[in-house]
């Protein structure tokens, strides 16, 4: 005995109807939605292959875009995600077709594609994050994170009890290795100035080789790498791997004497492992993106055009060392004074932190 299709459909609809009995709320008064639908300025962002929920630079960049829209209701923001670099061209082209006034390409690999689209559309303002462009209507947003990582390395060298610290990366790309270079330099500086002999595992500045888990997602891989370093005597871990870096924090939480230093954001706030974190080497993507969107808006409304490049440094607050939070008492006043002095030297240029991956200056 077959049931007629529409009977089945009827049953389905009544099931939906029953579920909808819960839907007896009151209707709201008619009003527009809160996404600046009538805005005159459209700012668009194309992500790299990590996607927008990468807990790293795509996510921070998008947060900056949204913050700009929050601040100025005449700005609307739009997002296009790429799953590989072969998606960059169509995505950038689509933002042009959508009538975007300001287009941000996130990731150094997209710079060439941004340049090509920008050259063809000289009336639109573009920006490239973590890349450097010489095209007139492309604004380069870069970060000299070697500077904040240098301070983090110095702190690590002062805090280690075993005399061994370790770093490891997600994938060997410049935005990652620049942190590792700076970290290594900071340790070297501490060894020279204070006569210590702190060893760094996981990264060799000279050879530019080190330990990479070849993923930004797999926290389990990060944990096993961290465990290996711990058995080799490391008591401070510096993972530069986005979400995979969480593996280092779980490893630290399982070993009483092991602590860690986070990157990109203040890990005390962005992760659940604040108690394990001495500090973080921050990269101010959110602020930089927000400021550049607002500047592009001003430029479109008669203000000065945004050209050239922005390099986040300790001097302009684009990169920084996060507060010590729970470890505030553990870090001696002497170390804190030295850090302040080093920060000042970096700002006034008497101390230069070199990295092969440092942003090209304008």
């Amino acid at each position: 005995m077959a049931v007629k299709p529409f009977k089945m459909a009827l049953a389905g609809f009544s099931a939906v109807g029953l579920a909808a009995l819960a839907a007896c709320g009151e209707a709201p008064s008619e009003n527009g939605s809160g996404d600046n639908a009538d805005a005159s300025f459209l700012a668009c962002m194309v992500t790299d292959s990590g996607g927008v929920d990468d807990k790293s630079f795509n996510e921070s960049s998008w947060a900056g875009m949204e913050a700009a829209a929050e601040e100025n209701s005449d700005i609307k923001v739009e997002l296009k995600e790429s799953s590989s670099e072969t998606d960059y061209d169509p995505n950038l082209q689509a933002t042009v077709d959508d009538g975007c006034n300001f287009i941000v390409g996130v990731g150094g690999l997209m710079t060439e594609n941004v340049n090509a689209v920008a050259t063809e559309n000289p009336d639109i303002a573009f920006a490239t994050v973590d890349g450097f462009s010489e095209v007139e209507n492309v604004y380069s947003i870069q970060f000299d994170t070697a500077q904040s990582a240098f301070l983090a390395g110095y702190v690590a060298a002062s805090q280690t009890k075993t005399g061994t610290v370790a770093t490891w990366g997600g994938i060997q790309i410049p935005p990652v290795t620049i942190f590792m270079d700076g970290f290594a330099e900071g340790i070297k500086k501490h060894n020279e100035d204070k006569g210590t002999d702190v060893q760094l595992l996981g990264w060799d500045v000279e050879a530019q080789t080190g330990t990479f888990v070849n993923t930004f997602e797999d926290a389990a891989a990060g944990k096993s790498t961290s465990d290996t370093f711990i058995t080799q005597g490391a008591d401070i871990l510096f993972p530069v791997a986005g979400p995979a870096g969480i593996g280092a924090l779980t490893a630290a939480s399982e070993n009483e004497d092991v602590t860690a230093i986070w990157v990109d954001t203040d890990g005390y706030e962005s992760t659940e492992y604040g108690a394990e974190l001495i500090t973080s080497a921050e990269k101010g993507l959110e602020t930089a993106l927000k400021d550049s969107v607002l500047a592009a808006y001003d430029a479109a409304n008669g203000g000065e055009a945004i050209t050239g490049s922005y390099v986040g440094t300790l001097a302009n607050g684009g990169v920084s060392l996060a507060p010590f939070h729970d470890f505030d008492a553990a870090v001696s006043d002497e170390t804190k004074a030295e850090l302040d002095a080093l920060t000042q030297q970096i700002i006034d240029g008497t101390l230069v932190v070199e990295s092969a991956a440092s942003p090209k200056a304008q």
């Binding site: 005995m1 077959a2 049931v3 007629k4 299709p5 089945m8 909808a20 839907a23 007896c24 709320g25 009151e26 209707a27 709201p28 939605s33 292959s49 739009e78 997002l79 296009k80 995600e81 799953s83 590989s84 670099e85 072969t86 998606d87 061209d89 169509p90 995505n91 082209q93 689509a94 077709d97 150094g108 690999l109 060439e112 994938i171 060997q172 790309i173 410049p174 290795t177 070849n214 092969a356 991956a357």
Partner: protein, 425 residues
């Protein structure tokens, strides 16, 4: 009563053999029967229906209108309707024709080339899928489940790349040589699971899955080597291929932004070759015979082991061509660990939807290419995952015709339901 007769299930009404079978009646019968064509069509329709429901559920604003459904139902219904309609229009615009661009073209503000861009994107994303679909489909016919197209494609990418930047030759020789290198690299890697099955009996599903992982990790390592790594960039990206080895764009005369290139005709050619191989050649006869019944084929004097190895090598060669299409086409500026995407795995779904038949595979690849291009362009109004989602649902239904038959109460066709299956377990 006469119209319902044709649609009602025949279960409680014995076939009225004495009635004259007119065209409409036969057509109606065909529509309500779970034959492979109708199951495919219904699978697509059901997938878009389920996709619509998921779009509604996942949209925050539309969902909020359902919280006061009984106070003002028209809100929820119109919001749902507009969301679904606009989403599918956006997919269409990204895959076939952008209506907005059509207006601009009519007003003289856009060029003809701009109008073709969505189609060009569809074809661009479909091209690798044609090759990987054929790679999986061909193996299906020999009763082999080739999960390894992803790895074979990766080796094809590397093979084409090495010839692409490593030699300097005139374009007439360089490009074909690089393409052949991709096919050979893919074939060599593809032959491994076939050889393992022939010699040791290792199941090709297991070995080809494992080989995928080996290929993916090998790629990460290979890109980092001095030989392959870009000289100008510190990111994990390879050297670009020489101009002489780049696949020329098909429509660059109309607009440089039309990315579709000569890999597409090559894909069509590969489909014709596969069709010829399967249905006209002795080797194809052997493939089908072994796929149909290996024991009978062995008794008839066919060498099963060598058929497995050769079939997997040819399949690997086809997947290798997908890699060459990427290396020398959209990825010619340099390969990263992401260039291969999941084209190899998507090839499995393409082969299933195309029912392992070269023409069907090309059609299925075009559909999936359109979904991918449409979803990419419809961002951010439509979640980009919609294309993967629709693909998954389509294949779910294709792989389980009984499900479609049960949902829509279709009749069982003569000869039973057609389920594509790879044997060998």
């Amino acid at each position: 009563m006469s119209t319902t007769d044709t649609q009602a299930p025949a279960a409680d009404q014995p076939e009225a053999a004495e009635e004259k079978p007119n065209f409409m009646r036969l057509f109606g019968r065909y529509l309500t029967e779970a034959n492979s064509v109708m199951v495919t069509i219904y699978s697509l329709l059901l997938a878009f229906l389920i996709g619509a429901i998921l779009l509604i559920v996942s949209d925050e604003y539309v969902r909020s209108t359902y919280t006061y459904f009984f106070a003002r139902p028209q809100d929820a219904l119109t919001a749902s309707w507009y969301l679904v309609r606009d989403s599918y229009i956006a997919l269409f615009e990204g895959a076939i024709l952008n209506l907005n661009m059509l207006d601009r073209f009519a007003a003289g503000n856009a060029e003809f080339g701009d109008l073709l861009r969505p189609l060009s994107e569809t074809l661009t994303y479909a091209t690798p899928l044609i090759f990987t679909g054929l790679a999986v489909g061909l193996a299906f016919r020999a009763g082999l489940f080739n999960i390894g197209a992803q790895g074979q494609m990766i080796f094809g990418m590397l093979g084409a790349l090495i010839i692409g930047f490593g030699l300097s030759l005139p374009a007439v020789i360089h490009l074909p040589l690089a393409i052949i290198a991709g096919a050979i690299a893919g074939a060599a890697f593809g032959a491994v699971p076939g050889l393992l099955k022939a010699t040791t009996g290792a199941h090709e599903v297991i070995s080809s899955i494992m080989l995928n992982n080996i290929a993916a990790l090998f790629l990460v390592w290979a890109i980092g080597t001095d030989f392959l790594h870009s000289e100008t960039k510190t990111d994990l990206i390879t050297k670009p291929v020489d101009e002489t080895a780049v696949m020329p764009k098909l429509l660059s005369g109309l607009s440089e932004s039309l990315r579709v290139n000569w890999a597409l005709p090559l894909g069509i050619l590969a489909a014709v070759f596969t069709w010829w191989l399967l249905s006209r050649s002795t080797f194809g006869f052997r493939i089908r015979a072994v796929g149909f019944n290996e024991h009978a084929s062995a008794t008839a004097g066919m060498r099963i082991g060598s058929t497995y190895t050769t079939t997997m090598a040819v399949a690997g060669g086809l997947a290798g061509l997908a890699g060459a299409a990427l290396s020398l086409g959209v990825g010619s500026a340099g390969l990263t660990t992401n260039t291969a995407l999941e084209y190899g795995f998507d090839g499995i779904t393409v082969a299933l939807l195309g029912r392992a038949n070269p023409g069907g595979i090309v059609a299925a690849a075009l559909l999936f290419g359109a979904l991918k291009a449409g979803a990419l362009s419809a961002q951010p109004d439509v979640p980009v995952d919609i294309s993967t989602l629709l693909q998954a649902i389509i294949v779910l239904f294709i792989a389980a015709p009984a499900l479609v038959k049960a949902i829509l109460h279709l009749r069982t066709p003569r000869g039973g339901l057609v389920t594509l299956e790879a044997k060998g377990w």
